[in-house]
């Protein structure tokens, strides 16, 4: 019988997941073709000073509404090597659960002091640090009253590693009914930021979110 790869799961109550998830199993990649499935990114955009502080639009402008928080962590590959000089992009909703993005039609208010986008490059140890606003949750399925719990989106790209993921908050409202959280199952804890105190800096609290990403030689587990 032909060997097949994983069958992807459809996120419950997620219409887009229902429409876009392949119904057939994934296919096994022949060993001779594996390298061609390992993209290598050399992206290094020009980044302006302060692009990792989302809490104000410029140093002397007012703070956005809500609690300013720090999100920081280290990005390692699964062998424990730091991912250096990788591009980390984050985006999140404002205090009211509204994205400034053109396509967000949610009725919550925009905050004129919050755009909600940040990016930076990791340092020599693979570390990153952002200041942002503690995001609100938002109503994703008004027809069945299903909300998305608060979360911060991240995209990471560097060398042969890249990942798109989200950081969640411990015991937050609506965590349990979130489709992707349900698909993650017991591994959900890997995507929760660990809260820490921030006594000496101008934010309410911090969340440590260490990330493990597939490394250069670890794409294929054998």
């Amino acid at each position: 019988m032909e060997k097949l790869g994983r069958k992807l799961r459809i996120g419950p109550t997620d219409n887009t997941s229902y429409e876009r998830t392949p119904r057939e199993n994934l296919r096994i990649i022949p060993p001779a073709a594996r390298d061609s499935f390992l993209p290598y990114s050399r992206v290094q955009p020009g980044i302006r000073l302060g692009e990792n502080d989302l809490t104000r639009l410029a140093p002397d402008l007012p703070r956005a509404d809500g609690d300013a928080i720090e999100m920081s962590g280290q990005i390692l590959d699964d062998t424990g090597q730091p991912l250096r000089h990788a591009l980390v992009e984050i985006w999140n909703a404002n205090k009211y659960g509204k994205y400034a993005h053109d396509l967000d039609g949610y009725s919550a208010p925009l905050d004129p002091n919050f755009i909600g986008l940040g990016r930076m490059l990791t340092d020599e140890e693979g570390r990153y640090k952002f200041w942002t606003i503690d995001p609100g949750c938002y109503l994703a399925r008004p027809d069945i009253n299903r909300w998305r719990p608060k979360h911060i989106h991240l995209s990471i790209r560097g060398g042969a590693s890249r990942l798109i993921t989200q950081m969640y908050f411990k015991d937050a409202e609506h965590n349990d009914t979130d489709p992707m959280r349900i698909v993650m199952g017991d591994d959900f804890h890997l995507n929760i930021g660990k809260q820490y105190e921030t006594p000496n800096i101008d934010v309410e609290r911090g969340y440590k979110f260490d990330i493990v990403i597939r490394g250069k030689d670890s794409t294929f587990f054998e």
């Binding site: 993209p39 992707m180 017991d186």
Partner: protein
């Protein structure tokens, strides 16, 4: 509670558990798009340098189960140069690397459609010319496949195409549909994400126990 698909596949060595992939959601920042990203035949915009190889245009669209475009998705493109060599950390200084060809780009599609101007990759190690396409989208974490080109003899022996049943092979072969004003051939592919006529996608997390 069900186990996560991705970490299921980790073998019992001392690897760290991977952070779960998640959907990109509908709101990836549009402002991180750059207009030049869908032309890999210009390594530096405004300069005359061009990569070696035959220019082509790959036009395509991602379609969902209802036949609608996968709007708002992020598409990543990855391919070898005209000699069939990928530009990576290990090959960066190799004489086989074309300094004017990158081979990687990422694009946020508004409608599900895309149009990439590039060069046709060379054949090496028995591979037919191909482009690896990765889709990040709302509702799914990541989907990977490879696109090939009509009328390439090497398609007949390519290991990826050969690993598929005949009707699935055809789903990955872009059809020659014409040429643009500069006589650059235009290839066209429709990628069906789910349901009838579904395009084959590949598993780059091989599950333990499934190896040959």
């Amino acid at each position: 509670m069900v186990k996560n698909n991705m970490n299921d596949t980790i073998n019992p060595t001392n690897r760290l558990p991977l952070t779960n992939e998640d959907t990109v959601g509908p709101y990836y920042p549009i402002c991180y798009d750059h207009d030049d990203r869908m032309d890999l035949t210009k390594s530096i915009v405004g300069q005359q340098f061009e990569p070696k190889g035959d220019k082509i245009i790959l036009r395509g669209r991602y379609i969902d189960k209802n036949g609608d475009g996968a709007h708002g998705a992020l598409i990543e493109f990855w391919q070898a140069n005209a000699q069939g060599v990928f530009r990576t950390e290990d090959t960066e200084s190799s004489p086989e690397i074309d300094p004017h060809f990158d081979g990687y780009t990422r694009y946020r599609t508004v409608t599900g459609d895309f149009e990439l101007k590039t060069i046709k990759s060379g054949t090496q190690l028995g591979r037919a010319p191909n482009i690896t396409l990765t889709l990040f989208s709302d509702g799914i974490s990541r989907l990977v496949t490879q696109v090939f080109f009509e009328n390439e003899i090497s398609n007949e022996t390519d290991p990826v195409l050969m690993s598929l049943p005949q009707d699935k092979r055809d789903k990955l072969i872009a059809r020659l549909v014409g040429e643009d004003d500069d006589n650059i051939p235009i290839y066209d592919i429709e990628i069906i994400l789910a349901g009838e006529g579904e395009t084959p996608f590949f598993d780059d997390f091989l599950a333990l126990g499934w190896r040959d």
